[in-house]
Amino acid sequence: MKDKAITARSLTKFYGDLLAVDHIDFSIQKGEIFGFLGPNGAGKTTTIRMLTGLLQPDEGEATILGIDIVHSSIMAKRLMGVVPEVCNVYVDLSAWNNLMLMGKLYSVPARERKKRSKELLEKFGLSERKDEKTRRFSRGMKQRLILAMSLVHRPSILFLDEPTSGLDVQSSRMIRQIIAELKREGCTVFLTTHNIQEANLMCDRVAIINQGKIVATDTPEKLKSTIQKTQSVEVVFDNPPSRTDWLKNIPEVDELQQLGDKFRLYTSDTDVVIHRLAEYSKKNNLHFVSLNTLGPSLEDVFVKFTQNAEVPL
C-alpha cells in the first residue's frame, strides 16, 4: 500500500439512470506515468473528477497516497496538481498573479511561492510576459501557464486531462518534455489523452476504459502483444505502381491499405511477404524508398478493446 500513489476500488458513478463509471479498480505506483484511454463518453473525465475530489462516487472508494479522497478531500487535494480538460487561466490577471493565486490557495509560503513561480515561468518560456494580463496569450501559452499553475506547490501526483489537445506542436512537445522531467523527479502522472501515440511514448502503463468499464490495463508493449496477428509490412516505391492488384494477390497478405505514397500489407508472415516484394520489384525494375515491418500499434489495441467491451484480456 505504501508504494501506491492512487488506488481506485469499485469506483462507480451514476448520472441519473446512466451508469457513467462501472465499478472500476486499478492502482498506480508512485512515480508512474499512467495513461487513461477511452473513446468520448467512456468515463475518463468522470473518473478523473472522482479521483480529484470534484465528484463524489456513488459506490467504491479512491485514495491518494493512502488518503481517502471523499472523507479527507482537502488533505488529499493538497498532494495533487490538476489540469482539467476544460479550463482556463484568469484572463484579467497577469501570469505572475495567476501563479501567486494558486500558490496562496495551496498554502505555499510567500518566499517559496515567488521563487517557484520564477522557476516555472522560466521553464515554460513565459518569463518575458509575466506581468502582462493573460487575455492576450495564445492558446499554447495559456495551456503552459495552466500546467505551471498546477505545479506551484510541487505536487506528488499530477492529473492531466487531455493536456495537449488542440495545441501547436511546439507547446505539445514542451508539455511532454516537462511531464517526462516530472517523472524523473518522482512525480506520479495520471494522464488522459486521445493521442494514442502520446500515450504509447510516455506512459509506463495504460488502462483502456469503454462504456464505463476498464477493459484492459497493462504496459503498452504487453497490450500490443495481445494482438500479435496484426503485423504489417509498409513499403514505399520510388515510382509507385499504377496497378496494385499484384500486391493484393500476394497469398500471404490478409489486407492491403494505401496511405498516401505508402502501401501497408497486413500479414501473419512478414518474412515471406518481404521476399515476395523483393522478387517482384527486381523483376519489374522498381526500387524501394523504404521498407518497414510494423507490429500492432497501441491504436490497434485501442480499437480492438473499444469496439467490443466484452473482449477478455
Binding site: 470534484l54 465528484l55 490538476v82 482539467p84 476544460v86 479550463c87 482556463n88 490557495l105 495552466i146
Partner: protein
Amino acid sequence: MTKTPHFSAWLSSLRSSLIIAEKNARIYYAKPPVLIFGVLFPLFLFLAFALGREIPAQVLVPGLVAMTLFFTSSSVGPLITPWERNARTYERLLTTPLSLPSLLLGDILAGLVFGITISVVPLFLGFIFFRTGIVHPLVLAVDMFLGSLCFACLGVLLSSPATEAPSQVMMLSALVRFPLIFISGIFIPLGELPVWGRVIAPISPLTYAADLVKYSLYGRSFYPPPLNFAGLALFSLGFFIIAVKLHKRSLVKGLL
C-alpha cells in the same frame, strides 16, 4: 500555546476564503454588470423617486443608504460563479484544497467589502447636503456589516443555478431584488404602508437593514433594534445554508 486541529482547519478555511475574496475584488469589482446593477441602477432608481418631490431627509437619506447597501452588496455574488463557469476557471478552482463553503464565503466577503465601501458615499452625501448626524454610530456600523453580509449571502444564493450565462443570473437577481425595495420601507416608511404591506415587510431582509439605518441616523425605528439585528442574522444564516446546498447540487449539473 498549541492550536487544536479544528481551530487550525477553521483558520485555514478562513484564510482560503480571504484569498478568494481578494481574487474576486481584483477581477469582478470593475466588471460592467457589477457597476451597472450595483452602483448606477440604485442611483438612478433613487433619483427617479426623489427628484421633484418634497421628501423629508429622514426618509431620503436612510433610504438611499439602505438601498445602496442592498444593491452593491448583492451585485458581486450573482456574477462570480456563472462568470467563472463561462471563463472555464470554475472547475480548476474546485480542484484546489478549498471546501465549497469556503469558496462561497470568499464570494460573500467580496460582496460585503464592496457593499460597505460604496455605501459610505451616500452616508457622506447625507452628512454634507442634509447635515445628517449619526445618533448611534455603533448600531450603524453593525447594521452596515450585518446588512452587507446578508445581502452578499443573497447574491451568492442567486448565483446557484447551473448556468454559465452571467446575464441569466443577473436577470434573476433583478427579478428578486426589485420587488423587495417596494416592501421594505425604502420609499414609503413602514408605518405608512398599507396593512398588507406591513404584513409582508418582514419577509424582506432589507426591511431590517433600512429600519436600523433610520434608527442609527435619527434614533427612531419601526421595529426594536434587537429584532432588526436578529432578522438580519437569521436571513444571513438561512441564505448561506441554502446557497451551499444549491451550489453543491448545481456543481454536478454544471460540470456535465
